[in-house]
Protein backbone atom coordinates (compact mmCIF):
# COMPACT_ATOMS: atom_id res chain seq x y z
CA UNK A 1 0.00 0.00 0.00
CA UNK A 2 2.88 2.33 0.81
CA UNK A 3 4.33 1.71 -2.65
CA UNK A 4 1.03 2.70 -4.23
CA UNK A 5 0.96 5.95 -2.26
CA UNK A 6 4.53 6.86 -3.23
CA UNK A 7 3.74 6.12 -6.86
CA UNK A 8 0.57 8.16 -6.64
CA UNK A 9 2.32 11.17 -5.13
CA UNK A 10 5.01 10.99 -7.81
CA UNK A 11 2.30 11.02 -10.44
CA UNK A 12 0.54 13.97 -8.83
CA UNK A 13 3.75 16.01 -8.73
CA UNK A 14 4.41 15.14 -12.35
CA UNK A 15 0.83 16.16 -13.18
CA UNK A 16 1.28 19.56 -11.57
CA UNK A 17 4.47 20.09 -13.60
CA UNK A 18 2.62 19.19 -16.79
CA UNK A 19 -0.19 21.64 -16.05
CA UNK A 20 2.44 24.28 -15.41
CA UNK A 21 4.22 23.57 -18.70
CA UNK A 22 0.94 23.64 -20.63
CA UNK A 23 -0.07 26.94 -19.05
CA UNK A 24 3.34 28.38 -19.88
CA UNK A 25 3.03 27.13 -23.43
CA UNK A 26 -0.26 28.92 -24.02
CA UNK A 27 1.10 32.08 -22.37
CA UNK A 28 4.15 32.26 -24.60
CA UNK A 29 2.15 31.19 -27.63
CA UNK A 30 -0.14 34.20 -27.26
CA UNK A 31 2.81 36.52 -26.55
CA UNK A 32 4.83 35.26 -29.51
CA UNK A 33 1.99 35.61 -31.96
CA UNK A 34 2.60 37.79 -34.98
CA UNK A 35 1.11 41.20 -34.27
CA UNK A 36 1.00 40.48 -30.51
CA UNK A 37 -2.75 40.33 -29.76
CA UNK A 38 -2.31 41.66 -26.23
CA UNK A 39 -0.72 44.92 -27.31
CA UNK A 40 -3.12 45.11 -30.24
CA UNK A 41 -6.10 44.88 -27.88
CA UNK A 42 -4.58 47.52 -25.61
CA UNK A 43 -4.01 49.90 -28.51
CA UNK A 44 -7.49 49.26 -29.80
CA UNK A 45 -9.01 50.13 -26.42
CA UNK A 46 -6.96 53.33 -26.22
CA UNK A 47 -8.13 54.25 -29.71
CA UNK A 48 -11.73 53.70 -28.58
CA UNK A 49 -11.19 56.54 -26.11
CA UNK A 50 -10.29 54.71 -22.92
CA UNK A 51 -7.54 56.20 -20.82
CA UNK A 52 -4.33 54.13 -20.76
CA UNK A 53 -5.06 53.08 -17.18
CA UNK A 54 -8.58 51.90 -17.99
CA UNK A 55 -7.36 50.10 -21.08
CA UNK A 56 -4.60 48.43 -19.11
CA UNK A 57 -7.05 47.28 -16.45
CA UNK A 58 -9.36 45.89 -19.07
CA UNK A 59 -6.60 43.97 -20.82
CA UNK A 60 -5.45 42.73 -17.46
CA UNK A 61 -8.88 41.31 -16.71
CA UNK A 62 -9.05 39.64 -20.13
CA UNK A 63 -5.64 38.04 -20.25
CA UNK A 64 -4.64 37.96 -16.60
CA UNK A 65 -1.55 40.14 -17.05
CA UNK A 66 -0.61 43.76 -17.75
CA UNK A 67 0.69 44.43 -21.27
CA UNK A 68 3.53 46.83 -20.42
CA UNK A 69 5.15 44.90 -17.62
CA UNK A 70 8.36 43.01 -18.34
CA UNK A 71 7.67 39.56 -19.73
CA UNK A 72 8.60 37.64 -16.57
CA UNK A 73 6.25 39.74 -14.43
CA UNK A 74 3.41 39.18 -16.87
CA UNK A 75 4.19 35.50 -16.72
CA UNK A 76 4.07 35.37 -12.93
CA UNK A 77 0.85 37.35 -12.90
CA UNK A 78 -0.67 34.96 -15.37
CA UNK A 79 0.35 31.84 -13.44
CA UNK A 80 -0.95 33.40 -10.26
CA UNK A 81 -4.32 34.02 -11.91
CA UNK A 82 -4.49 30.44 -13.14
CA UNK A 83 -3.63 29.08 -9.71
CA UNK A 84 -6.68 30.96 -8.47
CA UNK A 85 -8.82 29.34 -11.19
CA UNK A 86 -9.13 32.63 -13.00
CA UNK A 87 -8.70 32.11 -16.72
CA UNK A 88 -9.44 35.69 -17.74
CA UNK A 89 -12.32 37.06 -19.77
CA UNK A 90 -13.48 36.21 -23.22
CA UNK A 91 -13.08 38.79 -25.97
CA UNK A 92 -15.74 37.61 -28.39
CA UNK A 93 -18.37 37.09 -25.67
CA UNK A 94 -17.51 40.42 -24.17
CA UNK A 95 -16.98 40.39 -20.44
CA UNK A 96 -17.95 36.76 -19.84
CA UNK A 97 -15.36 34.88 -17.76
CA UNK A 98 -13.62 32.15 -19.72
CA UNK A 99 -14.14 29.64 -16.93
CA UNK A 100 -17.90 30.12 -17.15
CA UNK A 101 -17.89 29.57 -20.93
CA UNK A 102 -15.82 26.41 -20.83
CA UNK A 103 -17.77 24.96 -17.94
CA UNK A 104 -21.06 25.44 -19.78
CA UNK A 105 -19.64 23.88 -22.94
CA UNK A 106 -17.92 20.91 -21.30
CA UNK A 107 -21.07 18.95 -20.30
CA UNK A 108 -22.25 18.82 -23.91
CA UNK A 109 -18.98 17.26 -24.99
CA UNK A 110 -18.88 14.90 -22.03
CA UNK A 111 -22.39 13.57 -22.62
CA UNK A 112 -21.79 13.21 -26.34
CA UNK A 113 -18.44 11.46 -26.13
CA UNK A 114 -19.09 9.39 -23.02
CA UNK A 115 -22.22 7.84 -24.52
CA UNK A 116 -20.38 7.07 -27.74
CA UNK A 117 -17.37 5.75 -25.87
CA UNK A 118 -19.34 3.39 -23.63
CA UNK A 119 -21.50 2.12 -26.50
CA UNK A 120 -18.54 1.46 -28.78
CA UNK A 121 -16.56 -0.14 -25.96
CA UNK A 122 -19.28 -2.64 -25.08
CA UNK A 123 -20.10 -3.58 -28.66
CA UNK A 124 -16.47 -3.54 -29.78
CA UNK A 125 -15.22 -5.73 -26.95
CA UNK A 126 -17.97 -8.31 -27.40
CA UNK A 127 -17.40 -8.39 -31.15
CA UNK A 128 -13.67 -8.65 -30.53
CA UNK A 129 -14.08 -11.75 -28.36
CA UNK A 130 -16.25 -13.40 -31.03
CA UNK A 131 -13.83 -12.38 -33.79
CA UNK A 132 -10.91 -13.90 -31.89
CA UNK A 133 -12.56 -17.16 -30.89
CA UNK A 134 -14.14 -17.76 -34.29
CA UNK A 135 -11.22 -16.31 -36.21
CA UNK A 136 -11.02 -19.13 -38.73
CA UNK A 137 -14.74 -19.05 -39.58
CA UNK A 138 -16.42 -16.65 -42.03
CA UNK A 139 -18.32 -14.99 -39.14
CA UNK A 140 -15.06 -14.10 -37.42
CA UNK A 141 -13.39 -12.72 -40.50
CA UNK A 142 -16.49 -10.73 -41.41
CA UNK A 143 -16.47 -9.12 -37.96
CA UNK A 144 -12.74 -8.37 -38.21
CA UNK A 145 -13.21 -6.85 -41.64
CA UNK A 146 -16.01 -4.59 -40.36
CA UNK A 147 -13.62 -3.45 -37.63
CA UNK A 148 -10.73 -2.71 -39.98
CA UNK A 149 -12.94 -0.82 -42.41
CA UNK A 150 -14.67 1.32 -39.79
CA UNK A 151 -11.36 1.92 -38.07
CA UNK A 152 -9.89 3.24 -41.29
CA UNK A 153 -12.57 5.84 -41.98
CA UNK A 154 -11.72 9.26 -40.54
CA UNK A 155 -14.20 10.77 -38.12
CA UNK A 156 -15.12 13.70 -40.33
CA UNK A 157 -15.89 11.46 -43.30
CA UNK A 158 -18.07 9.30 -41.06
CA UNK A 159 -19.85 12.36 -39.67
CA UNK A 160 -20.52 13.88 -43.07
CA UNK A 161 -21.71 10.54 -44.39
CA UNK A 162 -24.17 9.96 -41.53
CA UNK A 163 -25.37 13.54 -41.68
CA UNK A 164 -25.99 13.28 -45.40
CA UNK A 165 -27.73 9.93 -45.29
CA UNK A 166 -29.98 10.55 -42.29
CA UNK A 167 -30.80 14.22 -42.56
CA UNK A 168 -30.82 14.90 -46.30
CA UNK A 169 -31.38 11.62 -48.11
CA UNK A 170 -33.93 10.27 -45.64
CA UNK A 171 -35.10 13.02 -43.38
CA UNK A 172 -35.22 10.84 -40.29
CA UNK A 173 -33.29 12.89 -37.79
CA UNK A 174 -32.73 16.59 -37.20
CA UNK A 175 -29.48 18.25 -38.24
CA UNK A 176 -27.52 20.89 -36.35
CA UNK A 177 -28.20 22.43 -32.93
CA UNK A 178 -28.35 20.31 -29.77
CA UNK A 179 -32.14 20.59 -29.38
CA UNK A 180 -35.19 22.17 -31.00
CA UNK A 181 -34.89 25.87 -30.24
CA UNK A 182 -38.67 26.31 -29.96
CA UNK A 183 -38.84 24.13 -26.87
CA UNK A 184 -38.12 25.44 -23.41
CA UNK A 185 -35.19 23.67 -21.78
CA UNK A 186 -36.15 21.75 -18.69
CA UNK A 187 -37.30 18.39 -17.48
CA UNK A 188 -40.25 18.04 -19.86
CA UNK A 189 -40.94 15.19 -22.26
CA UNK A 190 -40.74 17.02 -25.62
CA UNK A 191 -37.46 18.72 -24.67
CA UNK A 192 -35.76 15.53 -23.57
CA UNK A 193 -36.91 13.62 -26.63
CA UNK A 194 -35.67 16.43 -28.85
CA UNK A 195 -32.34 16.39 -27.00
CA UNK A 196 -32.01 12.66 -27.60
CA UNK A 197 -33.03 12.86 -31.25
CA UNK A 198 -30.46 15.57 -31.89
CA UNK A 199 -27.75 13.58 -30.11
CA UNK A 200 -28.24 10.32 -32.00
CA UNK A 201 -26.14 11.19 -35.05
CA UNK A 202 -23.19 12.80 -33.22
CA UNK A 203 -23.06 9.91 -30.77
CA UNK A 204 -23.35 7.37 -33.58
CA UNK A 205 -20.50 9.05 -35.44
CA UNK A 206 -18.26 8.83 -32.40
CA UNK A 207 -19.29 5.26 -31.62
CA UNK A 208 -18.86 3.98 -35.17
CA UNK A 209 -15.44 5.51 -35.60
CA UNK A 210 -14.09 4.14 -32.34
CA UNK A 211 -15.78 0.71 -32.54
CA UNK A 212 -13.10 -0.65 -34.89
CA UNK A 213 -10.26 0.24 -32.56
CA UNK A 214 -11.86 -1.58 -29.59
CA UNK A 215 -12.64 -4.59 -31.72
CA UNK A 216 -9.13 -4.94 -33.14
CA UNK A 217 -7.42 -4.40 -29.78
CA UNK A 218 -9.69 -6.85 -27.99
CA UNK A 219 -9.23 -9.41 -30.74
CA UNK A 220 -5.44 -9.31 -30.54
CA UNK A 221 -5.54 -9.29 -26.75
CA UNK A 222 -7.77 -12.37 -26.70
CA UNK A 223 -5.53 -14.15 -29.20
CA UNK A 224 -2.51 -13.47 -26.97
CA UNK A 225 -4.33 -14.84 -23.92
CA UNK A 226 -5.48 -17.90 -25.89
CA UNK A 227 -1.84 -18.93 -26.18
CA UNK A 228 -1.29 -18.81 -22.42
CA UNK A 229 -0.61 -22.01 -20.54
CA UNK A 230 -3.47 -21.61 -18.07
CA UNK A 231 -5.99 -21.74 -20.91
CA UNK A 232 -4.51 -25.02 -22.09
CA UNK A 233 -4.62 -26.26 -18.50
CA UNK A 234 -8.28 -25.28 -18.24
CA UNK A 235 -9.02 -27.14 -21.43
CA UNK A 236 -7.14 -30.22 -20.25
CA UNK A 237 -9.04 -30.15 -16.97
CA UNK A 238 -12.23 -30.30 -19.03
CA UNK A 239 -13.70 -26.96 -18.05
CA UNK A 240 -16.74 -25.96 -20.05
CA UNK A 241 -16.40 -23.66 -23.05
CA UNK A 242 -18.40 -20.93 -21.27
CA UNK A 243 -16.09 -20.97 -18.26
CA UNK A 244 -13.00 -20.85 -20.45
CA UNK A 245 -14.35 -17.90 -22.44
CA UNK A 246 -14.97 -16.12 -19.14
CA UNK A 247 -11.37 -16.74 -18.06
CA UNK A 248 -10.08 -15.54 -21.39
CA UNK A 249 -12.22 -12.43 -21.49
CA UNK A 250 -11.35 -11.52 -17.93
CA UNK A 251 -7.63 -11.60 -18.64
CA UNK A 252 -7.82 -10.10 -22.10
CA UNK A 253 -9.86 -7.08 -21.06
CA UNK A 254 -7.30 -5.70 -18.60
CA UNK A 255 -5.20 -3.77 -21.12
CA UNK A 256 -8.40 -2.43 -22.66
CA UNK A 257 -9.49 -0.96 -19.38
CA UNK A 258 -6.35 1.13 -19.35
CA UNK A 259 -7.06 2.41 -22.84
CA UNK A 260 -10.69 3.04 -21.87
CA UNK A 261 -9.71 5.05 -18.82
CA UNK A 262 -7.20 7.03 -20.85
CA UNK A 263 -9.82 7.70 -23.53
CA UNK A 264 -11.99 9.30 -20.87
CA UNK A 265 -9.27 11.89 -20.44
CA UNK A 266 -9.00 12.54 -24.15
CA UNK A 267 -12.78 12.91 -24.26
CA UNK A 268 -12.90 16.69 -24.03
CA UNK A 269 -10.69 17.20 -27.07
CA UNK A 270 -11.95 14.23 -29.03
CA UNK A 271 -15.00 15.52 -30.79
CA UNK A 272 -13.88 18.64 -32.65
CA UNK A 273 -15.05 17.31 -36.01
CA UNK A 274 -18.33 15.96 -34.73
CA UNK A 275 -19.23 19.16 -32.90
CA UNK A 276 -18.23 21.17 -35.93
CA UNK A 277 -20.28 19.11 -38.39
CA UNK A 278 -23.37 18.80 -36.20
CA UNK A 279 -23.05 22.30 -34.74
CA UNK A 280 -22.97 20.97 -31.19
CA UNK A 281 -22.17 23.56 -28.50
CA UNK A 282 -19.37 21.57 -26.84
CA UNK A 283 -15.80 22.38 -25.92
CA UNK A 284 -14.42 21.54 -29.36
CA UNK A 285 -16.72 23.99 -31.04
CA UNK A 286 -15.82 26.59 -28.41
CA UNK A 287 -12.12 26.10 -29.15
CA UNK A 288 -12.72 26.50 -32.88
CA UNK A 289 -14.89 29.56 -32.30
CA UNK A 290 -12.14 31.05 -30.13
CA UNK A 291 -9.55 30.51 -32.85
CA UNK A 292 -11.70 31.79 -35.68
CA UNK A 293 -12.61 34.94 -33.75
CA UNK A 294 -9.06 35.40 -32.42
CA UNK A 295 -10.33 35.14 -28.84
CA UNK A 296 -7.04 34.10 -27.26
CA UNK A 297 -7.99 34.01 -23.56
CA UNK A 298 -10.83 31.67 -24.45
CA UNK A 299 -8.53 29.59 -26.64
CA UNK A 300 -5.93 29.24 -23.88
CA UNK A 301 -8.59 28.35 -21.33
CA UNK A 302 -10.26 25.72 -23.46
CA UNK A 303 -6.94 24.13 -24.39
CA UNK A 304 -5.83 24.13 -20.77
CA UNK A 305 -9.02 22.39 -19.66
CA UNK A 306 -8.68 19.79 -22.43
CA UNK A 307 -5.11 19.03 -21.33
CA UNK A 308 -5.80 19.04 -17.61
CA UNK A 309 -8.53 16.44 -18.06
CA UNK A 310 -6.04 14.15 -19.78
CA UNK A 311 -3.50 14.62 -16.99
CA UNK A 312 -6.10 13.92 -14.29
CA UNK A 313 -7.36 10.80 -15.98
CA UNK A 314 -3.78 9.56 -16.43
CA UNK A 315 -3.23 9.81 -12.70
CA UNK A 316 -6.57 8.17 -11.95
CA UNK A 317 -5.86 5.36 -14.41
CA UNK A 318 -2.51 4.67 -12.90
CA UNK A 319 -4.05 4.46 -9.46
CA UNK A 320 -7.03 2.35 -10.48
CA UNK A 321 -4.89 -0.02 -12.46
CA UNK A 322 -2.83 -0.88 -9.43
CA UNK A 323 -6.10 -1.71 -7.67
CA UNK A 324 -7.55 -3.79 -10.53
CA UNK A 325 -4.41 -5.71 -11.44
CA UNK A 326 -2.61 -7.09 -8.40
CA UNK A 327 0.49 -7.84 -10.48
CA UNK A 328 1.32 -4.12 -10.64
CA UNK A 329 1.36 -3.74 -6.84
CA UNK A 330 4.75 -4.87 -5.74
Amino acid sequence: MKGVLIRLSQRVIWGVIMVFVTASFTFFLVRMMPGNPVDAKYNQLVMQGLTPVQAMNKVRVMYGFIPHEPLWQQYIHYLNQIAHMNLGQSISYEGVPVLHLILTAAPWTIILVLTGLVASFIVGVLAGVIAAIKRSSPVGSAISLSGSLLHGIPQFVMGLFLAYVFTTLWVLLPFGAPYNAELTPGLNGPFISSLIRHAILPVATYALSSYGGWLLTMKSSVITVLGDDFILAAEVRGLKMGTRVRYIAHNAILPLFTIFALSIGFMLGGSLFIENIFDYPGLGNLLLHAINSRDYPLMSGAFLLITVSVILSNIATDFLYSVVDPRIRR
Binding site: M33, P34, G152, F156, F266, G269, F273, G284, L288, I306
Partner: protein
Protein backbone atom coordinates in the same frame (compact mmCIF):
# COMPACT_ATOMS: atom_id res chain seq x y z
CA UNK B 1 17.38 -21.12 -14.89
CA UNK B 2 14.04 -22.74 -15.37
CA UNK B 3 12.68 -20.65 -18.19
CA UNK B 4 9.89 -22.10 -20.33
CA UNK B 5 11.13 -23.01 -23.77
CA UNK B 6 9.27 -20.17 -25.45
CA UNK B 7 11.11 -17.55 -23.40
CA UNK B 8 14.53 -18.76 -24.54
CA UNK B 9 16.28 -16.97 -27.35
CA UNK B 10 14.97 -18.00 -30.75
CA UNK B 11 17.57 -19.67 -32.97
CA UNK B 12 19.99 -17.20 -34.48
CA UNK B 13 18.84 -17.85 -38.03
CA UNK B 14 15.48 -16.25 -37.23
CA UNK B 15 17.07 -12.92 -36.41
CA UNK B 16 18.63 -10.63 -38.96
CA UNK B 17 22.25 -10.88 -38.04
CA UNK B 18 23.79 -10.87 -41.47
CA UNK B 19 22.32 -9.71 -44.76
CA UNK B 20 19.55 -11.99 -46.03
CA UNK B 21 20.46 -14.11 -49.04
CA UNK B 22 18.15 -13.00 -51.88
CA UNK B 23 18.27 -9.25 -52.37
CA UNK B 24 15.73 -7.19 -50.44
CA UNK B 25 13.93 -6.06 -53.59
CA UNK B 26 13.55 -9.52 -55.05
CA UNK B 27 12.14 -10.98 -51.87
CA UNK B 28 9.84 -7.96 -51.39
CA UNK B 29 8.48 -8.44 -54.87
CA UNK B 30 7.82 -12.09 -54.17
CA UNK B 31 6.01 -11.19 -50.95
CA UNK B 32 3.81 -8.65 -52.72
CA UNK B 33 2.68 -10.89 -55.57
CA UNK B 34 1.79 -13.70 -53.15
CA UNK B 35 -1.68 -12.31 -52.45
CA UNK B 36 -3.92 -10.33 -54.85
CA UNK B 37 -4.93 -7.93 -52.06
CA UNK B 38 -1.33 -6.82 -51.64
CA UNK B 39 -0.95 -6.25 -55.38
CA UNK B 40 -4.06 -4.05 -55.39
CA UNK B 41 -2.74 -2.11 -52.40
CA UNK B 42 0.64 -1.70 -54.07
CA UNK B 43 -0.92 -0.45 -57.31
CA UNK B 44 -3.11 2.05 -55.41
CA UNK B 45 -0.09 3.39 -53.54
CA UNK B 46 1.96 3.69 -56.74
CA UNK B 47 -0.93 5.53 -58.38
CA UNK B 48 -1.06 8.04 -55.54
CA UNK B 49 2.71 8.53 -55.55
CA UNK B 50 2.49 9.19 -59.29
CA UNK B 51 -0.38 11.63 -58.64
CA UNK B 52 1.64 13.48 -56.03
CA UNK B 53 4.76 13.69 -58.18
CA UNK B 54 3.32 14.48 -61.59
CA UNK B 55 -0.31 15.46 -60.88
CA UNK B 56 0.22 19.24 -60.93
CA UNK B 57 2.19 18.96 -64.20
CA UNK B 58 -0.80 17.48 -66.02
CA UNK B 59 -2.83 20.64 -65.65
CA UNK B 60 -2.17 24.36 -66.21
CA UNK B 61 -1.22 26.25 -63.04
CA UNK B 62 -4.59 28.00 -63.04
CA UNK B 63 -7.20 25.31 -63.48
CA UNK B 64 -9.69 26.20 -66.24
CA UNK B 65 -13.08 27.41 -65.08
CA UNK B 66 -16.25 26.98 -67.07
CA UNK B 67 -19.21 29.19 -66.12
CA UNK B 68 -21.51 27.01 -68.23
CA UNK B 69 -20.70 23.88 -66.28
CA UNK B 70 -21.12 24.89 -62.64
CA UNK B 71 -21.86 21.74 -60.62
CA UNK B 72 -22.00 19.76 -63.85
CA UNK B 73 -23.08 16.16 -63.35
CA UNK B 74 -20.67 13.29 -63.83
CA UNK B 75 -19.83 12.93 -67.53
CA UNK B 76 -16.99 11.88 -69.82
CA UNK B 77 -15.63 15.40 -69.84
CA UNK B 78 -15.92 15.74 -66.06
CA UNK B 79 -15.51 12.23 -64.61
CA UNK B 80 -16.15 13.48 -61.07
CA UNK B 81 -18.38 16.43 -61.88
CA UNK B 82 -17.41 20.06 -61.35
CA UNK B 83 -17.21 22.55 -58.48
CA UNK B 84 -18.81 25.95 -57.90
CA UNK B 85 -16.69 27.53 -60.65
CA UNK B 86 -17.06 24.77 -63.18
CA UNK B 87 -13.59 23.36 -62.55
CA UNK B 88 -13.27 19.63 -62.96
CA UNK B 89 -13.29 17.86 -59.59
CA UNK B 90 -10.92 15.24 -60.93
CA UNK B 91 -8.39 17.94 -61.74
CA UNK B 92 -8.82 19.41 -58.25
CA UNK B 93 -8.29 16.04 -56.61
CA UNK B 94 -5.22 15.29 -58.72
CA UNK B 95 -3.57 18.67 -58.28
CA UNK B 96 -4.53 18.74 -54.60
CA UNK B 97 -2.80 15.44 -53.94
CA UNK B 98 0.73 16.85 -53.89
CA UNK B 99 0.36 19.01 -50.77
CA UNK B 100 -1.53 16.33 -48.84
CA UNK B 101 0.78 13.47 -49.73
CA UNK B 102 4.03 15.38 -49.45
CA UNK B 103 3.10 16.77 -46.03
CA UNK B 104 2.03 13.33 -44.84
CA UNK B 105 5.26 11.82 -46.13
CA UNK B 106 7.32 14.45 -44.33
CA UNK B 107 5.29 13.89 -41.17
CA UNK B 108 5.98 10.18 -41.33
CA UNK B 109 9.70 10.77 -41.88
CA UNK B 110 9.92 13.15 -38.91
CA UNK B 111 7.89 10.81 -36.70
CA UNK B 112 9.97 7.79 -37.60
CA UNK B 113 13.30 9.58 -37.21
CA UNK B 114 12.45 11.15 -33.84
CA UNK B 115 10.65 8.09 -32.53
CA UNK B 116 13.28 5.58 -33.59
CA UNK B 117 16.36 7.51 -32.53
CA UNK B 118 14.94 8.51 -29.16
CA UNK B 119 13.50 5.04 -28.54
CA UNK B 120 16.76 3.29 -29.39
CA UNK B 121 18.92 5.64 -27.33
CA UNK B 122 16.57 5.52 -24.37
CA UNK B 123 16.20 1.75 -24.40
CA UNK B 124 19.85 0.92 -25.02
CA UNK B 125 21.74 3.37 -22.81
CA UNK B 126 19.15 3.56 -20.00
CA UNK B 127 20.12 5.68 -17.01
CA UNK B 128 19.81 9.44 -17.14
CA UNK B 129 19.15 9.82 -20.87
CA UNK B 130 16.39 7.23 -20.59
CA UNK B 131 14.55 9.02 -17.82
CA UNK B 132 14.82 12.40 -19.57
CA UNK B 133 13.62 11.04 -22.90
CA UNK B 134 10.80 9.09 -21.31
CA UNK B 135 9.58 12.16 -19.39
CA UNK B 136 9.45 14.11 -22.65
CA UNK B 137 7.67 11.20 -24.32
CA UNK B 138 5.10 11.10 -21.53
CA UNK B 139 4.50 14.76 -22.08
CA UNK B 140 4.06 14.40 -25.84
CA UNK B 141 1.67 11.50 -25.30
CA UNK B 142 -0.38 13.41 -22.77
CA UNK B 143 -1.05 16.58 -24.73
CA UNK B 144 -4.06 15.88 -26.95
CA UNK B 145 -2.46 16.28 -30.35
CA UNK B 146 -5.33 17.40 -32.52
CA UNK B 147 -6.43 20.25 -30.25
CA UNK B 148 -2.74 21.16 -30.01
CA UNK B 149 -2.50 21.32 -33.80
CA UNK B 150 -5.58 23.51 -33.92
CA UNK B 151 -4.05 25.87 -31.35
CA UNK B 152 -0.68 25.88 -33.13
CA UNK B 153 -2.40 26.80 -36.38
CA UNK B 154 -2.78 30.31 -34.94
CA UNK B 155 0.98 30.92 -35.00
CA UNK B 156 2.44 28.36 -37.35
CA UNK B 157 2.30 28.89 -41.09
CA UNK B 158 1.04 25.63 -42.54
CA UNK B 159 1.31 26.82 -46.14
CA UNK B 160 4.43 24.76 -46.82
CA UNK B 161 3.96 21.00 -46.73
CA UNK B 162 7.32 20.63 -44.94
CA UNK B 163 6.14 22.92 -42.15
CA UNK B 164 2.92 20.94 -41.82
CA UNK B 165 4.82 17.68 -41.81
CA UNK B 166 7.26 18.94 -39.21
CA UNK B 167 4.52 19.90 -36.76
CA UNK B 168 2.67 16.64 -37.31
CA UNK B 169 5.92 14.78 -36.69
CA UNK B 170 6.83 16.77 -33.59
CA UNK B 171 3.46 16.06 -32.00
CA UNK B 172 3.25 12.43 -33.08
CA UNK B 173 6.46 10.55 -32.27
CA UNK B 174 5.60 9.59 -28.68
CA UNK B 175 3.95 6.24 -29.28
CA UNK B 176 6.67 5.01 -31.63
CA UNK B 177 9.48 6.06 -29.27
CA UNK B 178 7.90 4.14 -26.44
CA UNK B 179 7.37 1.01 -28.53
CA UNK B 180 10.91 1.09 -29.95
CA UNK B 181 12.27 1.55 -26.43
CA UNK B 182 10.47 -1.48 -25.07
CA UNK B 183 11.61 -3.61 -28.02
CA UNK B 184 15.19 -2.39 -27.54
CA UNK B 185 14.99 -3.18 -23.84
CA UNK B 186 14.12 -6.79 -24.55
CA UNK B 187 16.60 -7.12 -27.43
CA UNK B 188 19.59 -5.77 -25.52
CA UNK B 189 19.47 -8.72 -23.15
CA UNK B 190 19.54 -11.24 -25.99
CA UNK B 191 22.56 -13.41 -26.62
CA UNK B 192 23.54 -11.93 -29.97
CA UNK B 193 23.67 -8.40 -28.60
CA UNK B 194 25.73 -9.54 -25.65
CA UNK B 195 28.04 -11.28 -28.13
CA UNK B 196 28.34 -8.08 -30.14
CA UNK B 197 29.14 -6.14 -26.99
CA UNK B 198 31.78 -8.57 -25.88
CA UNK B 199 33.32 -8.39 -29.38
CA UNK B 200 33.89 -4.73 -28.58
CA UNK B 201 31.61 -3.38 -31.33
CA UNK B 202 30.69 0.26 -30.87
CA UNK B 203 27.25 1.14 -29.46
CA UNK B 204 26.55 2.88 -32.79
CA UNK B 205 27.19 -0.36 -34.66
CA UNK B 206 25.10 -2.38 -32.23
CA UNK B 207 22.17 0.03 -32.41
CA UNK B 208 22.19 0.50 -36.17
CA UNK B 209 23.25 -2.91 -37.46
CA UNK B 210 22.04 -5.33 -34.80
CA UNK B 211 19.03 -3.83 -33.04
CA UNK B 212 17.50 -1.60 -35.71
CA UNK B 213 16.88 -4.41 -38.26
CA UNK B 214 14.94 -6.32 -35.63
CA UNK B 215 12.70 -3.34 -34.91
CA UNK B 216 12.43 -2.61 -38.65
CA UNK B 217 9.08 -4.24 -39.28
CA UNK B 218 7.47 -2.29 -36.51
CA UNK B 219 8.93 0.96 -37.80
CA UNK B 220 7.91 0.28 -41.39
CA UNK B 221 4.34 -0.47 -40.35
CA UNK B 222 4.35 2.66 -38.27
CA UNK B 223 5.59 4.70 -41.23
CA UNK B 224 2.55 3.70 -43.25
CA UNK B 225 0.13 4.18 -40.37
CA UNK B 226 1.61 7.60 -39.66
CA UNK B 227 1.07 8.54 -43.28
CA UNK B 228 -2.66 7.76 -43.07
CA UNK B 229 -2.96 9.39 -39.65
CA UNK B 230 -1.22 12.53 -40.87
CA UNK B 231 -3.38 12.73 -43.97
CA UNK B 232 -6.48 12.63 -41.80
CA UNK B 233 -5.08 15.23 -39.42
CA UNK B 234 -4.07 17.73 -42.09
CA UNK B 235 -7.19 17.25 -44.19
CA UNK B 236 -9.10 17.65 -40.93
CA UNK B 237 -7.34 20.93 -40.14
CA UNK B 238 -8.24 22.33 -43.55
CA UNK B 239 -11.75 20.95 -43.27
CA UNK B 240 -12.29 22.79 -39.98
CA UNK B 241 -11.06 25.94 -41.69
CA UNK B 242 -8.58 26.97 -38.99
CA UNK B 243 -5.66 26.97 -41.43
CA UNK B 244 -5.65 29.67 -44.09
CA UNK B 245 -6.15 28.27 -47.58
CA UNK B 246 -3.05 28.87 -49.64
CA UNK B 247 -2.98 25.88 -51.89
CA UNK B 248 -5.72 23.70 -53.20
CA UNK B 249 -5.93 20.34 -51.45
CA UNK B 250 -8.50 17.77 -50.41
CA UNK B 251 -9.20 19.39 -47.07
CA UNK B 252 -9.91 22.75 -48.70
CA UNK B 253 -12.27 21.01 -51.09
CA UNK B 254 -14.14 19.35 -48.22
CA UNK B 255 -14.42 22.61 -46.33
CA UNK B 256 -15.71 24.56 -49.33
CA UNK B 257 -18.09 21.77 -50.27
CA UNK B 258 -19.67 21.54 -46.84
CA UNK B 259 -19.60 25.09 -45.55
CA UNK B 260 -19.78 27.19 -48.75
CA UNK B 261 -21.33 25.05 -51.47
CA UNK B 262 -23.92 23.48 -49.16
CA UNK B 263 -23.22 20.01 -50.48
CA UNK B 264 -25.02 18.57 -47.47
CA UNK B 265 -28.38 19.87 -48.64
CA UNK B 266 -28.11 20.24 -52.42
CA UNK B 267 -27.67 17.09 -54.43
CA UNK B 268 -25.98 18.83 -57.36
CA UNK B 269 -22.97 19.86 -55.24
CA UNK B 270 -22.59 16.34 -53.90
CA UNK B 271 -19.88 15.20 -56.35
CA UNK B 272 -17.73 18.11 -55.15
CA UNK B 273 -17.94 16.71 -51.60
CA UNK B 274 -17.57 13.09 -52.58
CA UNK B 275 -14.47 13.43 -54.77
CA UNK B 276 -11.96 14.30 -52.01
CA UNK B 277 -13.62 11.74 -49.72
CA UNK B 278 -13.23 9.10 -52.38
CA UNK B 279 -9.57 10.03 -52.80
CA UNK B 280 -9.06 9.62 -49.04
CA UNK B 281 -10.90 6.34 -48.75
CA UNK B 282 -9.19 4.68 -51.73
CA UNK B 283 -5.79 5.65 -50.35
CA UNK B 284 -6.71 4.23 -46.94
CA UNK B 285 -7.84 1.02 -48.56
CA UNK B 286 -4.55 0.78 -50.46
CA UNK B 287 -2.48 1.31 -47.34
CA UNK B 288 -4.49 -1.17 -45.27
CA UNK B 289 -4.09 -3.82 -47.99
CA UNK B 290 -0.37 -3.14 -48.35
CA UNK B 291 0.39 -3.16 -44.58
CA UNK B 292 0.12 -6.92 -44.52
CA UNK B 293 2.94 -7.20 -47.09
CA UNK B 294 5.11 -4.68 -45.24
CA UNK B 295 4.89 -6.75 -42.10
CA UNK B 296 6.21 -9.77 -43.91
CA UNK B 297 8.89 -7.79 -45.77
CA UNK B 298 10.53 -6.40 -42.69
CA UNK B 299 9.71 -8.96 -40.06
CA UNK B 300 12.60 -11.42 -40.03
CA UNK B 301 10.52 -13.94 -38.11
CA UNK B 302 7.96 -14.27 -40.87
CA UNK B 303 10.61 -14.64 -43.55
CA UNK B 304 11.17 -18.37 -43.15
CA UNK B 305 7.55 -19.13 -43.99
Amino acid sequence: MALPASKLDPPVNQLVVSKSNPSFWTSSWRIIVKKPGRVIGFIIILLYIFMGLFGPMLYPKQLPIDPNAIYAPISWKYPLGTDFEGTSNLALVITGARYVLFAAFMAAIFTVVFGTVLGLVSGYFLGFSDSVIMRITDFILTIPSFPLLVVLSTVWNFGQPVAMGFVLGITGWGGLARAVRSQTLSLRERGFIEAARSLGLSPMHILMREILPNVGSYIAMNLLLTITGSIYAEVGLFFLGVVPFQVNNWGVMLNLAVFSAGAMSSAQALPYLLSPMLALLILTLGIVLFLDAVDEMFNPRLKEV
